[in-house]
């Protein structure tokens, strides 16, 4: 490094601790050490001049602005989350209420709710005549298209919820099975249910809906009763072509 390079570097970076610069300063016999000294003093002056007075409380004001902004953001975030949570809760509660309302108005629920006033009918064992059974259906403006199943011990025209119904009890294998036929109440599918100690099935028929249910009856008995009432209400199934 020559003196010109040294002075250019010191002129740009007087505080540099580059070993090459310091070595030249210490070794040079042409006044570079004095130049360096003057540069340091001039730099001291520049630093002193640049150190303008700091406004009182500057750091505190900066921190206050940051803390205030941050708190505001937190409040906005909290309110947003609370609004979201409230929306979700309201949605869930509303959905739950709608579901519960729909469930309470379902046929299985209405059928089970109908039973407490009719429990004595389950104890009847005396078979009814076909004429009595048919009369029960006529009371609901329905005419049977096939023979009623054997072992019908109870028939009565009731109202299940808002629906007019024929209430039947069929005793099969000494097990009472309730059948509630609601003419005109159309449903699109057959579903099984279990509710308040009752097992049952909601069956869609061509002219209405049949609910078959029992407490503790075997599945075979339930199926047989369902088939019997389906055949009586809709008529015997037409023989299928090719079926033996």
């Amino acid at each position: 490094m020559n003196c010109l390079d040294f002075r250019r570097r010191i002129g740009a970076e007087p505080r540099s601790r580059d070993p090459e610069l310091l070595a030249h300063r210490d070794a040079c016999k042409d006044g570079c050490a004095a130049f360096w000294q003057r540069a340091q003093r001039f730099e001291d002056d520049i630093e002193a001049a640049m150190a303008v007075a700091i406004p009182e409380g500057l750091a505190d004001r900066i921190l206050l602005a940051q803390a205030t902004g941050e708190r505001r953001r937190q409040l906005v975030r909290r309110r947003t989350w609370m609004a979201l949570a409230a929306s979700v809760l309201i949605g869930l509660a509303g959905g739950g209420m709608l579901w519960r309302q729909a469930d309470l108005n379902s046929l299985p629920a209405l059928a089970v709710a109908h039973m407490p006033g009719e429990l004595d009918s389950l104890d009847l064992t005396q078979p009814m005549t076909d004429a009595q059974v048919e009369a029960g259906f006529v009371g609901r403006a329905t005419r049977l298209k096939g023979p009623a199943p054997a072992g019908v011990t109870y028939v009565h025209d009731c109202t299940v919820g808002p629906y007019p119904a024929v209430h039947l009890v069929t005793r099969m294998n000494d097990e009472p099975v309730v059948a509630l036929y609601m003419p005109g109440k159309m449903s699109s599918k057959t579903t099984d249910f279990r509710r308040d100690g009752w097992e049952g099935r909601q069956v869609a028929l061509s002219g209405g809906t049949l609910v078959v249910m029992a407490q503790g009856a075997s599945r075979g008995t339930m199926d047989a009763v369902e088939r019997g009432w389906r055949a009586a209400i809709e008529g015997p199934a037409a023989p299928r072509v090719g079926q033996i």
């Binding site: 002129g11 740009a12 970076e13 500057l58």
Partner: protein, 177 residues
């Protein structure tokens, strides 16, 4: 000011320490950049607010000051963009006096300040970054988007111009010391 409490989260602690350690130098840099106390205060406030939002980007404590200075320069450029139509040539402006309203106004520091205010921006800005920000030529070059050699030339010329503006004082300084 009460010390930072232990319950404060680490990010907040880091931020508070950074504000306390660097706000003075940052304000001084902002002052020499804008030549206005009011603008300098606004710039420092805005810079630290932006720094808070991006604090996770700061990995190294040593890099904090250059990082803040880079943010402040961007804020100043934005401010200049917004106010461009209202701005008059600063070189013709009298700087706000509070920073100079001290007994040293009549002394050497005041003379150097007057001279510094006459420096063109292209010299004063890198000089302030170096003196107040402690930034190397490479760091200044990175922050200003220039080549390090160009920055070195600007720093050399800034000091030469200052000496020229100070005239006999600088010449006398050599003899004085």
């Amino acid at each position: 000011m009460a010390p930072v409490k232990e319950g404060v989260n680490p990010k907040q602690r880091q931020y508070e320490a950074m504000v306390r350690a660097l706000s003075a130098d940052l304000y001084r840099y902002a002052f020499w950049l804008s030549r206005s106390e009011t603008v300098a205060q606004d710039l420092v406030q805005e810079t630290f607010l932006r720094a808070w939002k991006n604090l996770d980007a700061l990995r190294d404590a040593e890099a904090a000051k250059p990082w803040l200075i880079t943010i402040l320069r961007r804020e100043h450029a934005r401010l200049y963009e917004r106010k461009r139509l209202d701005t008059v040539e600063l070189d013709d402006n009298v700087p706000e006096d509070t920073a100079f309203a001290s007994p040293e106004r009549s002394g050497d520091a005041a003379q150097v300040r007057e001279a510094m205010l006459k420096l063109p921006d292209k010299y004063r800005d890198p000089l302030a970054m170096q003196v107040l920000g402690g930034m190397s030529c490479d760091e200044i070059a990175e922050s200003t988007g220039q080549q390090p050699g160009a920055v070195m030339t600007q720093l050399f010329r800034a000091r030469q111009r200052l000496k020229a503006l100070l005239g006999g004082r600088a010449a006398a300084e050599g003899a004085r010391k």
